[in-house]
Amino acid sequence: MARMPVQFRLNGSDRAVFVEPAETLLGTIRRGLGDFAPKFGCGQGTCGVCTVLVDGEPRLGCLTLSVTCEGRSIETASGLADGPTLHPLQVAFMEHFAAQCGFCTPGMLMAAKALLDRNPDPTRVEVVEAIAGNICRCTGYEPIINAILAAAQQRGARRA
């Protein structure tokens, strides 16, 4: 089948790429556009390591067709830092030892960003719900939950 043109914003930059009709957003971001932050895990939407934001909403890159992203804005963990300045979530993940092997981290960060963008002051239960679709093998989740709560608190303190 003929390849199809798609244009979207990836971390603030306009990108245009030709994709196979059945190509996933994850494949396009990684192989087509060379952004390797979102990872390929299960490939069937159960592990969450491919989580990216599409117009601010968390989406599983492995189950999203690239052709459905025409004109949309995509965010990955590569776009979190502003030059040398890390995003508050990245700082909090470091300070709370929320990564061990790091494979789940890009997905966790994006799930957490989606949460904090729409709910700047989440409860612990809301944090747990926000990352419920993301599997972590190493940390036991506790440090990740604590990091997200701390990032929310720090953002709140900056606004005040």
Binding site: G41, F97, G102, V128, A132, T139, G140, Y141, I144
Partner: protein
Amino acid sequence: MARHQGRGMASINYPIGMNLGGDPSQALVHANPDGKFTVALSAIDLGQGMKQVSRQIAAETLGVPIEDVYVDTADSDTGPHDMGSFASRGTHRVGNAVIVAAKEARGVLLEAAAEELEVNADDLVTDGKGNIHVRGAASKSITVKAASQAAQFKQGKTIAGRGIFLIPLSNVSPETGEMSPVTAYAHACLVVDLEVCDETGDVKVNKMTSAYELGRALNPKMVEQQLVGGAWMGMSHALYETPEPYYPNPEHGGRDYNEYLMPGPGDIAPHDITVLERPAPDGPFGGKGPGEMCANPVLPAVANAIFNAIGVRIDTLPITPEKILRALKAQGGARPQVRRA
């Protein structure tokens, strides 16, 4: 239907490393032209903290700032031989090898500095901030960088060190089976509080309380990180992870992440951890390492807590709701055991 509370305890004695062919690890340390050091290992770090701990050990032994040490791991083509990062052996075996290598490199570094300062190398000390000076005379000094450059560009010395650590193989007595498999043991005790539903067989872990004795905690935050994550994995082994149900035949087993369960962020329990530090005589700076022991005590403690709650002994893992319901049926209902406050 009732939910029964139960408490279970387990203590473990955990051997660090293996009794196989000496269980060796090697390390190579060398100085670069900028006065910084590279530690080459074949041990790997996929989240256990091998790199960080090796870096701390190398910096401490060399007497240089930790920022000036780079650890290059996991290239078995170019690195020195290592058995690997498993069996809770990394900190103990690799750390000891790094100390040996770093000591040799430090010796050459001080010799190079001595030649530049025209003093005896035995009189030199490092300040840990990148300087070498005569003991008691801080003004008679040279930077590590200048000494490294003098060695490489003037004196023709390689500031380098080789390290290996191995445990002599302990032979098994043919009469009794007795042997001394390792030289360092870590210890732990863990208490689990949980509840069991006698209608659904569901187990909910409410709290874990533990004490771990693991030699000196070389990096306390990373030890805590390992213990928190490891206990979660123990809970997962005890109650969740399985390709079952697989009867009447294995074709009914789980095939993917959808059917292979692990506790999610909503299933975790508060875990109160106490770390006891009893430095090991043959450990690097007294360290043994947390390692696999993080997960081990959780399994028997969960099984004991379930017995305490409903009076059934489940002796295969994981303890799924189905096994609990079958055992309850065989026993004729829950028989909660005595609870002590």
